[in-house]
Symmetry: C2
Subunit: 335 residues, 2 copies
């Protein structure tokens, strides 16, 4: 690999002049021409490692989702990547499946001296909060909120999403509604659960713990749990799955067991998947304003990265309301 020294030697100048020529230093046109010619001739491209070492930070931005295979994050990545590339920064994606690996991943990213991180925090509890707080890298959290953490956050009103869907099903006459949640303690699923519970209570209905399933935001777990539920004594008339892949798992379970949706069991969920329109029946679901959220997240992060004193920027928070998309997955029991 050609270095700045090779270029300098070939152009007959010092390395600092070459460096100046490549940044915005004052170099005469004639010298600059000689330098660019020489650079092309030896095939020079600056070593970003050396640049980063000198400046203390690399130009990489880390995106740390829970599970990149969930299309929810694929969309995030697309939006974020566009803005990052415009700012001449690359995205490094590091999956974490659960909290255990998250800490490992974050340590690695810190050691890489990434310029900033966009993270979907999976942990809970005060030690976890303290850990995130202590990371001295520009940081924006999204989706999962960590209470008490003094960091930027963007996300959706999860409680509202679940409440709107539950109220919708209640209006259609459903009374036995099953809620499929993710890992207990996880912010989004707890808020969604609260929205569900609030709507049920407001309608004067009790919560039947047997209809509260836990499926870790995973499709195959939801499949098993739904199968267990539907082959048991208690049978709901409707299901609210608190994320997209669990909804698909639940739907598959219903179908495999011979239930018809929505005639036998209704289904709603939060977040979609691409080509949701092809899933039969078309699901009724709440959708997050992903593009807006992602655009704000990367904007805030870039601001922090490029700010001289990022500690001067107070933690910001943006919570946007979800929208409900009506499908054909809910039966009207009033007729």
């Amino acid at each position: 690999m050609a270095t700045i020294r090779d270029v300098a030697k070939r152009a007959g100048v010092s390395i600092s002049t070459v460096s100046a020529a490549f940044n915005e230093g004052r170099v005469s046109d004639e010298t600059k021409r000689r330098i660019t010619d020489a650079a092309r001739a030896v095939g020079y491209s600056p070593n970003l490692l050396a640049q980063s070492l000198k400046s203390g930070r690399s130009r990489l931005i880390a995106l740390v989702p829970g599970d990149i295979t969930n299309p929810f994050f694929g969309n995030w990545l697309t939006v974020i990547e566009k803005h990052a590339l415009a700012a001449n920064r690359a995205i490094i994606v590091s999956n974490t499946h659960g909290v255990a690996r998250e800490q490992t991943v974050l340590e690695l990213l810190k050691a890489q001296r990434v310029a900033g991180m966009l993270i979907n925090p999976q942990g809970t509890g005060p030690e976890y909060r303290a850990y995130l707080e202590a990371i001295d890298v520009p940081l924006v959290t999204f989706d999962q909120f960590v209470p008490g953490l003094e960091r930027d956050y963007v996300g959706t009103d999860n409680e509202l999403a679940a409440r709107m869907l539950t109220e919708y099903m209640l209006r259609l006459g459903h009374r036995q509604i099953c809620f499929i949640g993710g890992q207990p303690g996880l912010w989004t699923t707890e808020r969604r659960r609260e929205g569900f519970v609030a709507a049920m209570h407001q309608a004067g209905l009790p919560i039947d713990e047997d209809l509260m399933l836990i499926a870790n935001y995973e499709g195959d777990v939801a499949y098993r749990e739904t199968t267990r539920l539907l082959t048991g004594p208690k049978r709901p008339t409707a299901i609210l799955a608190s994320n997209n892949v669990m909804a698909l798992g639940a739907l598959q379970a219903m179908i495999d067991l011979g239930f018809r949706c929505p005639q036998d069991i209704s289904l709603t969920t939060i977040d979609d998947v691409p080509w949701m329109g092809l899933v039969k029946p078309r699901l009724t679901f709440a959708i997050q304003p992903l593009h807006e959220l992602a655009a704000v997240a990367i904007k805030w992060l870039l601001e922090r990265i490029e700010s001289r004193d990022q500690a001067a920027i107070p933690p910001r928070r943006m919570i946007l309301p979800p929208k409900i998309i009506l499908g054909e997955s809910c039966a009207d029991l009033r007729v």
Copy 2:
């Protein structure tokens, strides 16, 4: 950030001793204890940038897919990430949408001095081949094959996949079959086209150019093209979409136009999507042995990275056969 010098000062030793203690140098137990204590006390973690600068290469592995939102690549990432993390290396994902940005992305990765690259090459032609050949970074290509390129390659027998699906539809009595292809020149789609054409010719059927659509491996383009075809004078009895998202786009178009699948038009495709089981009708498709391919790809790459003289390893090639999964998306015209 604490540096090796801080640790050395606090432990009362030289920096080279600290370095030795952290690698496998010979350091007495007593000194090593003092050093690790000091390191913990000052919160030291080695600066990977500095390490990489010295060694000339970072520990990052780059995955360069065409479009990460295609679940096809999500699966790749999951497999590759697992192996990479086991080798204490992180994955950096950089999307390229088409060749134009691919070169930019590769230059950035080169400048980052990544340890190796797994790339899904989108380009064609001899200059492109020469460009890839000149990259002096361990490199494994997958999915798209670049003819003449002396690099490792793993992929599926695309010609076979398309031929098997076409023969299947021919056996069911279909004669007017539409082929939806990706970008002309792209390896996978050309091979798939060849498989289609070979099967048609073997059955003594001509190729109707009006039934050969091009939709760039994109769902919305496939939607438009299919709509155009089905609202025109010529109407096929079956469609072979040469990738997953184009099939979904085509299916959506059929449904929106009021055609029933498979009663009015049959459909097959190559590659699935995670929730394929929920798409009605269940599609008949060819599936690649993704896990095997991805595992081999990352294994080969790590071998090259860790080999003293990677040029000594000759380019290897692995092409595995696809499997056909039968669904309910093809009508039997013989009855």
